[in-house]
């Protein structure tokens, strides 16, 4: 919930958030959010190097995320990402423990602790690989639609994408998991990235956004027909 508020506040401009802040603190909080606003550039059109495959994929993913979160007002669920961050943090923690222990107790005495840390680190690496390959796959957004009546569990929308190396065909897949029936429906499109970027590398939202909306509506309408 707090995450949704910060996302909404970020794109809506800091003015709304600081207005609610209260009288005496209004001045300081608006200057702080003003500086944060100048740093964040959500409204600036996205311009990337069109020959850099990973930059292209990232910008398309981020824009698809923006459309779903802002236009349809879904709430982002950070569970998957947090899982990955936790595994990485634990691995780095083992490495830091090994480093400090070896520094405090020079080598031959630190052998058992070092062995433990090294083995744990590589085990965590294995867990991370399994997690990213099987649990996360290429999903970069998990969003919830809160049920307006508040009774049924949330519907879940998942976005995943792929763009092969040196290829121009971008595949975006939208998955809808109904909260009530637990059914899963998918829709995807594969298009050349040339359709969404202009010659200077700026992402043209006017060409991209209708595609996302079309995907979304195709899944949403199926539900209504049922």
């Amino acid at each position: 919930m707090a995450a949704a508020a910060s996302q909404g506040g970020r794109s809506g401009g800091g003015g709304g958030g600081s207005g609610v802040g209260g009288g005496p603190s209004c001045g300081t909080s608006s200057s702080r959010t003003g500086l944060l606003d100048k740093w964040k550039i959500d409204d600036k059109p996205v311009k990337i190097d069109k020959w850099d495959g990973s930059a292209v994929k990232n910008s398309l993913d981020d824009s698809a995320k923006k459309v779903l979160l802002e236009k349809y007002k879904y709430v982002e669920n950070f569970g998957l990402i947090d899982g990955r961050l936790t595994i990485c943090t634990i691995s780095c923690f083992f490495a830091i423990v090994a480093l400090i222990w070896d520094y405090m107790h020079p080598f031959p005495e630190s052998k058992p602790v070092l062995a433990l840390c090294v083995i744990s680190y590589f085990v965590m690496m294995g867990i991370l690989t399994i997690y990213t390959s099987y649990k996360e796959k290429s999903i970069f957004l998990v969003a919830h639609r809160k049920d307006p009546t508040g009774m049924d569990p949330d519907d879940i929308w998942q976005l995943s994408s792929s763009l092969k190396r040196f290829d121009d065909k971008y595949t975006l897949k939208l998955t809808f998991i109904s909260g009530r029936t637990k059914q899963q429906r998918e829709a995807e499109f594969t298009k050349s990235i040339a359709k969404f970027f202009d010659h200077s590398g700026t992402l043209v939202m006017d060409a991209y956004e209708p595609e996302i909306s079309r995907l979304h509506d195709s899944l949403a309408t199926e539900r209504k027909i049922k």
Partner: protein, 174 residues
């Protein structure tokens, strides 16, 4: 200050993405660190890979060659073996050959080293008053060699061969 375009990617990231970038870098460093510490544990030596720094072991080892070491407790040190040792008070390990050994009944060893390419033994390098090295000074025994400049060395050898052939053709022995 605020119109730095190359920072655009960073500005567009949210907290989680920024943290992930930091973590990514940390994991690369950690992987290298863990591989090194893992090698330390496996070989038992505090510096499992060393670089030959001087020409005192030519023609066996040249400057820039990598040596792989092990330091297992059960390995005996025998005359003629190449050991890497550290002299008390000095940071840099030295790669030389064992020349003489004094061994006691209980297995305690004192040994003297000398570089193949040196004229005298290493007593001049040892600490003031120290005449022998002991097991505790040893970083490890050389088990493997990686020649870094094989291209240059074979090239020199090949150039020497061609020059000598040419010289022989020009000045044939009658």
């Amino acid at each position: 200050m605020l119109s730095l375009d190359f920072l655009d990617d960073v500005r567009r990231m949210n907290k989680r993405q920024l943290y992930y970038q930091v973590l990514n870098f940390g994991m690369i460093v950690s992987s290298a660190l863990m591989i090194w510490k893992g090698l330390m544990v496996i070989t038992g030596s505090e510096s499992p890979i060393v670089v030959v720094l001087s020409g005192s072991m030519e023609p066996a080892f040249h400057r820039g060659d990598l040596l792989f070491l092990t330091n297992r407790v059960e390995d005996p040190i025998r005359v003629g073996e190449i050991v890497v040792f550290r002299i008390e008070g000095r940071e840099i390990p030295i790669v030389h050959r064992v020349l003489k050994i004094h061994e006691k009944q209980n297995g305690h060893i004192k040994f003297l080293t000398k570089g193949d390419n040196n004229a005298v033994d290493d007593r001049g390098l040892y600490k003031q008053g120290q005449h022998w090295l002991e097991k505790k000074d040893v970083v490890g025994r050389a088990r493997g060699l990686f020649i870094s400049d094989i291209i240059r060395r074979t090239d020199q050898w090949r150039t020497g061969l061609i020059c000598s052939l040419y010289w022989n053709c020009d000045n044939p022995h009658e």
